[in-house]
Amino acid sequence: MDSFAALAHGMAIAVQPMNLLYALIGVFLGTAVGVLPGIGPALTVALLLPVTYKLDPGGSLIMFAGIYYGGMYGGSTTAILINTPGESASMATALEGNKMAKAGRGGPALATSAIGSFVAGTIATLGLAFLAPWLVDVAVRFGPEDYFALMCLAFVTVSATFGDSPVRGLTSLFIGLTLGLIGIDKLTGQARLAFGIPELLDGVEVTTLAVGLFAVGEALYVASRRHHAEEKLEPVRGSLWMTKEDWKRSWKPWLRGTLFGFPIGALPAGGAEIPTFLSYSTEKRLAKHPEEFGKGAIEGVAGPEAANNASAAGTLVPLLTLGLPTSATAAMMLAGFQQYGLNPGPLLFAERPDLVWGLIASLFIANAMLLILNLPLVGLWVKLLAIPQPWLYAGILVFATMGTLAAKPSVVELSMLAGFGVMGFLMRRFDFPIAPVVIGLILGPIAESQLRRALAISLGDPMTLLQSSISAALLGVALIALLAPFVLKGLGRFKANED
């Protein structure tokens, strides 16, 4: 099979000493930043993007692989030890893991999450390696109208179908699409929504938006509600190791979690939320002692953590093969590619197989490094968690500013950062989801150019969107996904199951 050959070739690239070092730095930085409360994997990647600016694309993408998995791992450590899930996908972990930590079983909770992440990440990355070439074969047959339809489907699923409120999700998406319009139109060279400000002609930087929404917005939000109860850091007491009983109770949830996580992550539907909650409720149903759930059941950490990691690897499938980001983190990864002028998709597999397969192979390596590094280093991560809140958020804002200034040293850019911060604060306060804004900004311009290309080929006939059977089918699914939440109230309300 050519996946094997390609993967072996990728491995040969990934194990070069410099690349191993990049992966190690990525894993270390990713975990260190991801472990900080309130910082999810998307913000981890956004904050660390400047560190990779001066590297060559290969090294930078390898470091990215490490940051991505490291950020995921760091997030679950935080969820277990202080019950502050950095993202909704870690909520199930926080539910049971924090109870375990309170009961003095923080060590086994961290261990089952680390080993489960490794198992799930490895299986899912293998899945990625074998699924990707096949999807690339399908994707080369896609015309621009099919890509446009696929993006419409992704827009709908990330914003409307699975959120709390389709109206608020779509509002977020359309704000992102509006931001995506800013700048010079690539086909005609005319400036849109620039209002005569030269800095706006290049468009809005994805990193500025993400850092503003996630970092500045989060700092403002947490500061505004500081007087509400503060979360307590649970010390890790007792043994770090899992007992025989823990192993016995963990391995099946790991595998089931992977089975939920990878396929759902790989669909252009986005979000690790659904597989983690599916895994949580499945484990609760199958457990021998369901009464332990809610009081610290190890299955409730093992399953969702595996599902979360498997779906993170799953989202790389549409990202690498179609250039389609379906989560905020994947959108940041796409921004990482774009800073080198690389566009993930079938063409990249053909033109730069060294980059793509080096990245995929590095995911295995990053995963293994995390397993080896993290349990021994858990004491260090706990110290990071203990940074007092004022310094933590002040430091986060300093780093956010630094990243923005390193990308574009201008007052306009900083003002946008502050503006997006206020927007992020208001969106949190009024419960608008944030990921659709980021996805709208990065995917909107791509969708527009695909649509315009399709219409130029068809001499302006919009029926071209329905004449291609792929495009017609995708648009049909998108329409159903858009209307379903309005028709079937209660669909996708997995969050209601939590208590």
Binding site: K54, V167, T171, D185, T188, Q190, V398, A418, S458
Partner: protein, 167 residues
Amino acid sequence: MTPDSAPSDLPRGPASRSIDRSGLVIALALAALAAVLVWDASQLQSNTVYGMGPEAMPVVIAVGLGILSIGNLIDALRGNLPARESADPKAVWLILAGLALLIAIIGFGGGFILATTALFVTTSAAFGRRAILADSAIALVMTTLIYLAFDRLLTLSLPAGPLERLL
């Protein structure tokens, strides 16, 4: 998701059924944004013979925003917005003041270290710290180290001011 923001379609008591003023502002803002998009699109020249010109997509998005403005308006009139917790406006304004200071110092050439030190101290104060001198010292050391690491080691150019030129 915090447990306090329950799904919006749960039945509520009569108290929350009143009109939500913030919701009205959101709906109005979306409508205004749609209007700006249409106005901006009308300034563009369409010289495309076949297919879409540059003005088509802004109009499509403006229509979407208009519909969503109505959707948000309905939610606001029904009082369907999620419940909000009390917020501390002083903390928010302190951080915003810090960001304004940051922008001003960078704008007037004060350099990275001074600007981010100001941001650090105001943010820390917003989170309840009162030791401004100690925080300033910590911030100066930290931002100087960051400046050195990124400017010298990674050769990313960060804005330089009087302090940076001494290094």
